[in-house]
């Protein structure tokens, strides 16, 4: 895979964090613009919008006498938002997509698309209607839920083998473990 292609794959399988960064940037822009406007108003000798720069500084210096409830609120809110932002910055932010083996093109499939293919295969193997099967995919595990036709047994191992085979056919890298859950109550004529 060329450098361009590996770059494309990395960018397409990981979140760009654009929404979070844009929200933070807008908040910062508003805050900094407010500070600047207060500074300009002060320089022009006009009345401040909320607090003049000097009043901001003295208020900040008097923070210890702000009272415990306010300090607790500040600590809690800043702490929670800070942890969330650092987590967003550090965590990989994988998107639910997988790279498929391709000769010429770089092919990435959404997990939703893969799950739908696996559900079709599972419904064939279990002899139920496609609507009676739901598949959810995680990074390394997948769960296949089947609502059987009442009075019919579903061979789980058969379904597991079929689903794993379909997955291996599509996907080259990484292995998956599938668990097959058959609902205890069947559906009539499903």
């Amino acid at each position: 895979m060329s450098r361009v292609e590996s770059r494309i794959v990395r960018r397409e399988t990981h979140s760009p964090r654009t929404v979070a960064a844009a929200c933070v940037a807008i908040v910062l822009v508003v805050a900094v613009a407010w500070l600047a406007v207060e500074g300009i108003l002060h320089l022009l000798g006009m009345r401040p919008l909320l607090f003049s720069p000097r009043a901001q500084l003295t208020a900040l210096a008097a923070a210890p006498s702000a009272g415990t409830p306010l300090l607790v609120a500040v600590a809690a809110i800043a702490g929670v938002v800070g942890v969330v932002l650092v987590a967003l910055a550090v965590l990989p932010g994988r998107r639910p997509r997988r790279v498929l083996r391709g000769e010429r093109a770089v092919v990435v499939a959404d997990d939703e698309m893969l799950a739908s293919a696996l559900a079709r295969r599972a419904s064939r193997a279990a002899a139920v209607s496609p609507d009676a099967v739901t598949v959810s995919l995680g990074r390394r595990t997948g769960v296949v839920r089947i609502a059987p036709v009442s009075g019919m047994r579903v061979n789980r191992d058969e379904v597991r083998i079929a689903v794993a085979e379909e997955f291996d056919r599509a996907h080259s890298t990484g292995s998956m473990r599938f668990s097959i859950l058959v609902s205890p109550t069947g559906k009539v004529g499903s």
């Binding site: 760009p16 320089l43 500084l57 800043a78 800070g82 932002l85 499939a109 379909e166």
Partner: protein
């Protein structure tokens, strides 16, 4: 595949997050540590006098303007502009020209619509494909194609991926050069079965009973 600068996005989040954690830590220290309040007031008083001193230096007589105020405003303006640029730039980077050939008579530019039409024509009849969209982006200054293949419910990923490979190989021979091609398979549960399956082998008719 666009111009979004992801490193700056993450840096912005990290720096803001760490600053907020520091604020939270200071607030906790003010509540929990008995001497912290006194220390804070002392630092605050000296900071106030220092600021008064720096901002009190007039640039010329009869003005309120000081060098420190000018610098502070310039830094604020720069900061705001950089942040707005970062927000506005996100998501762009699509290009319409995928190929530029220079011949002795001049240069030829190939629009993205040409490979788009070729790929769409090739992929449309493939079973399981409900729709195709093609766009072009610049990645590391080379144009690359992005093919979004909307699949029908239950479409085999292998078959669709092979069809994409084949279509791209055909495109290569038509263009005479190889462009990086990225294909994304989307769809699935939400796109319902359509005319592609007239004979439904999965219902009771095919079930051993």
């Amino acid at each position: 595949m666009n111009d979004t600068n992801r490193v700056i996005n993450r840096l912005l989040l990290a720096v803001t997050g760490i600053a907020l954690l520091a604020v939270a830590g200071l607030a906790v220290a003010l509540i929990a540590v008995p001497d912290a309040g006194r220390l804070w007031r002392g630092i605050g008083r000296s900071a106030t006098t220092a600021a008064d001193g720096v901002f009190g230096v007039r640039l010329w007589p009869g003005t309120t303007l000081s060098l420190a105020a000018l610098i502070a405003l310039a830094v604020a303006a720069l900061f705001v502009i950089l942040l707005i640029v970062q927000v506005v730039r996100a998501g762009h980077g699509a290009t319409s020209t995928v190929l530029t050939l220079s011949t002795p008579d001049g240069s030829v530019e190939l629009d993205a619509a040409v490979p788009a039409a070729l790929l769409t024509e090739q992929l449309k009849p493939v079973p399981g494909v409900a729709g195709v969209a093609v766009s072009a982006y610049r990645v590391r200054r080379t144009p690359a194609l992005k093919v979004t293949v909307r699949c029908r419910r239950g479409a085999s990923p292998r078959e669709v991926a092979d069809a994409v490979d084949e279509a791209v190989a055909l495109l290569d021979s038509a263009l005479g050069t190889t462009l990086p091609v990225f294909a994304q398979l989307v769809g699935g549960f939400r796109s319902r079965l359509q005319a592609a399956t007239r004979v439904d082998t999965s219902t009771s008719a095919a079930r051993p009973s």
